[in-house]
Subunit: 379 residues, 4 copies
């Protein structure tokens, strides 16, 4: 705070000012050749459903935070602002897309299919027309006012038409995933995989699950993704401005889906999702399949040295993390911890005869309770 | 950044999380009895004109930043989102007001009357119905699409109907002030007070001027306020989210109008504006009339001591600023500088015989080029 | 980071610069009348033992962080720099004291009596002459070089002379407390209260225990303090610079002892310590006896309102924390959480008939596993 | 601040904590092949002259801030702590060096030769033995106590023995540079190059000048470096802890000398200094010869795209700065400003026919009042 005051009085007395340019903070992530590592958020809202920002804000925020892609996924059955804003299912995408094109941010068309549990909330992205996925019957149900929350219970379980909606989404070649499976209002008795989900997964209609959403993550969902070879998603579900969102959630960074794509393009992202080649960055954790997290960690860490050898032949090395991902390593044998904060390095030693050391990367989870094991050369 | 990583691995592995509560950061400002010092922003936009946030966001942002009051002042002649959002002149206030009531933030109804120069842009606040201030003729002129900027030159100077608009605003007991008088697109040949403004001021139809707007401040406007006994206004003119706004403007805090009110209420603010009892907080500067800034500074600064006397009788004192306003004092005699950063103190000395010292408060301007003089007791 | 770049090019091209003044960041703590709440650190080191800063640095750092008092407590049996700096037991105090006098920071003479467990390390403060507490025999033992750590085990348990040292400390009217009772190198089998400590407590020779030290706190020690009516101490044990200390410990603020004193003076602090009128501020926690923490919390929290009443008679209130202590309240009945961050407020409601609400202050511990209960008026 | 409170209560109640590891924040600087860009500070003090930290602190601080090398340059004629610390001219280096070896920070032996103006203060680095450079006669002069400041005027101008000192430094193959030539106490009538300096430069005894020191920079000295082909130096002259130093100076980062070396080694640095292959990083500015700053800027900036072409053939590009140096570009033709903050990017456009654009890098000075011109490809 103090530093903002460092402007000299000379400056204070200058009148006028050029308005500053909008700047993107780049996030350095390690690529996994032949894949590029892209940072994505596939779950966002705008004023066209229950969000509170114009669609361009979603683009500007994501662009300035270093994202590669977002999907705008307004609810198609829930529009609390409709007294002021007539319902238009594709408007948020149509407004956001051109902004993204001019900023270099990939914007993906999507919508949120909003049902009671099961199946709960589902995002369909890479769709062609959200208005066709919205089913008339649900639309009618919400023609009168509902307060948020109430509407969740007002749908007759036995006559849900979500299958029609998903069928249409799939017909449009959409990619559908299950949102926040452990969200308290829909998982009062705990998170669980319903038969409905198993069926949808078996049909290929659900192809991913949010393992992290907002300020939560769901270990069970992580396991389901591994079991059924589904894409892990980590999304913000942001409704407010990013600043209010982070302030309320007490987090420094919204959850992100890391996508390992052959190219930085909409098609590249789609191919990676279809191949379940994703991981989740949630606060200080990275969650994903071992075959992806191992090369990711390897690409992030560089051991250099030895730059010093003491009298007993102990060699001193630098272990550096050149990326924005944190990595917390614990030596499997000695318990020594290496805190590889973003863009930092630490010093560690290797005894005379040691050629390599084994570590557990405590914040890289390859299963709900399994940390990544890596072996680093010290030679 | 490092510190965000201090969560232990034990925490990382905990699933789930309670979503945090929304918190207001209180700003400590010194009161000037019998007046309370209120922090206000009388110039903000929403999706109902050319802003990009839902009106509740304006309330949430201001509340969380410690503001006491805002006015929502959407343009009544410029609605670039009207393809998606039907024009409703009072909607932003009607949506923002209830949110403000529940958060304890005063929300004032306003609108921006948008004309070429002169008179340029004018805000009317404390109005009753913005739709009546909007004049049909201008409405028609903008019935077809104009890109922002172009429309400024498209109005026939000789047939402007701004007088009708202001007459209606005044009829509604509105308080009208002139926005960003030195804004480059409307002040290409430099800032100046037009005859039009002199007439409006003489009639009491313009009762304040923005001395600071966004990342700019206007020394000439400061002088005009002093000359004509007008309220000094410092407003954000925020269109985007606060975060994007501050990031683009490269400022740590949007401009604020400090209102010295008999009570924290809409009526209290109005009475203070009518009495021109305001100052402007712009970055590290405070601008205002001497009779207001002197007690403001006096209320912020506390000299305590002496807590030590050296061998030559020199006494050591603490000079403390318990507020969030910065104060930079320079001793008129010795040139010693006391940097009273927010909520901080410094040590200074007084020679044996000294009973008081005179300072210039470098960042408190009581005129375009005059700093506040204060005398502090050292006894 | 971005904001540091906001200096205009005009500034960049200015040559020269006035060097800034040293500023103290004030920490706002609630007083408990008739007591003043003082922030103190009774355990610090300098180059005169195994610390790495000149004694004035200890004063400057503490002063600039808003402390009221520190003790300099260099080891009297361990001087790893003695090859360069001849051993002088009182030097750190003699150098620090005058600096403190001129900054308004109270500096207390102390020393650390360093033994194997039991009794482990003990600080004697408010002493008259550290050189008399240092006992010759131990001095001889360390006349030759020992690496830190080794020396801990090199002392014959059966012939320790710590009683001589403590006897002298007490003769000098010193106040003796037990340092970091759970420090791993001396508590390999877990923290425990030895008979030695019980005897010293019974004799009044140990009158306080560090419940927090560096990045650790010790619940058991908290209980011992309550059981034996001892002063709770929270100290930094800082050896490096504060910046390196905090960076290594991954903490935002070193532990502090909150002293509730009749006056802000050395005598005032001593009287409070003798009366065990202290609490510990450790990261986001405050630890202390209920009779002290209850008025402390009460003095920090202000409920104002109602500022709004809805249609059902529900009243809206602001709950404000004007201090730098965080308070996390949970409503005992509803579970609602109020995060009273430093200098912030939140909004909460009270149903029509409610006159008061009961909360648990989650981060104010009045016992190792007991949180403070408070009742706040909503009327 | 808020975020530090994000620790859940679960964490708060955990007792104990592993003490964190010391982490180096890496600073990303662009290399200029075949040279590596090293960040160095050739002017630092410790308790062995008038500094206030143990020599290892100088190493730890620089290492943790991403430095490649420091010189420890204690005054050899001014030891205000000598009442407690016997004068030892080489002690600071001997203590710092082993620490540096184990951290991978290059530590260079140096001393400050301290005289009245002319020649003022001179640093000799890469020396063999500081005690031989200290001349006995000066030593005697300061055998009794002098307060800092007074001693500057107490030396007889006509009988200075600085030539003896420099002769010895040169005999030891030392590299000598002139410190803070515009330091107010020695440049009361303004900064100037004395005949003494011209002679020493001509003899090759002065081979560099501090163009930046602490919170100051000296445009005239920049020109002298260019005129006489001397190494530009930017050094901290830190005496206190880094934290207190930055807090007092109101700077975010101490001045650094950028050394363009064939290898990261003491010899590599020396060869670069001898070749005057250096630049200065001072706050947000970089100062240096055009032939060095041009490739430095080129290596920092990457133009990628176009990623979008609009209807008129205007192409959209990303301009990215992957380094920790800020670059502020202004388009020579249009005046458009690109604020390339550290590790960020901006979007800019190129009209259909444009193949390249010319910019002035406002914060890269290639002379006291000349900014670097660069041309970037847009094709």
């Amino acid at each position: 705070m103090m530093r903002f005051l460092s402007l000299s009085v000379a400056v204070l007395l200058l009148a006028g000012s050029a308005r500053g340019q909008f700047v993107r903070t780049e996030v350095t992530l390690p690529d996994i050749p032949p894949y590029k590592t892209l940072m994505c958020d596939f779950h966002t809202h705008t004023v066209f459903s229950d969000g509170n920002v114009w669609p361009t804000v979603r683009v500007d925020e994501a662009w300035s935070q270093g994202y590669d892609a977002i999907a705008v996924t307004d609810h198609i059955e829930y529009q609390p602002h409709r007294e002021y804003i007539p319902i238009q299912y594709n408007a948020s995408y149509e407004i956001a897309r051109p902004r993204g094109e001019r900023e270099g941010l990939i914007v993906i068309r999507g919508c949120e299919v909003t049902r009671v549990m099961p199946p709960g909330h589902l995002n369909a992205i890479f769709i062609e027309d959200a208005s066709l996925i919205q089913t008339k019957r649900i639309g009618e149900m919400f023609a009168h006012d509902h307060r948020r929350g109430d509407y969740l219970d007002s749908i007759d379980h036995h006559h849900q038409d979500y299958l029609l909606a998903l069928e249409e989404a799939v017909r449009q070649h959409g990619f559908v995933f299950w949102n926040h499976p452990g969200w308290a209002p829909q998982a009062k008795d705990g998170i669980k995989l319903w038969d409905v989900h198993r069926e949808l997964i078996a049909k290929g209609w659900i192809r991913g699950i949010e393992v992290a959403n907002h300020a939560e993550w769901y270990p069970e969902a992580f396991q389901w993704c591994l079991d059924y070879h589904l894409a892990l998603l980590g999304n913000s579900d942001v409704h407010e401005t990013e600043q209010i969102y982070e302030r309320k959630a007490r987090i420094a960074r919204r959850p992100a889906t890391l996508v390992f794509a052959r190219e930085r393009s909409e098609a590249g992202i789609r191919e990676a999702l279809d191949s379940a080649r994703t991981a989740v960055w949630f606060n200080d954790m990275v969650l994903g399949p071992e075959k992806l997290l191992r090369p990711l960690a390897a690409a992030a860490i560089a051991v250099t040295g030895p730059f010093f050898v003491d009298g007993e032949g102990t060699r001193y090395y630098s272990v550096r993390n050149a990326t924005d991902l944190p990595l917390t390593l614990t030596d499997t044998a000695s318990g020594e911890q290496l805190d590889l904060l973003p863009r930092s390095s630490v010093v560690t030693k290797a005894a005379k005869e040691v050629k390599a050391r084994s570590f557990s990367v405590k914040n890289f989870l390859v299963g709900p309770s399994d940390t990544l094991a890596v072996r680093l050369p010290f030679d």
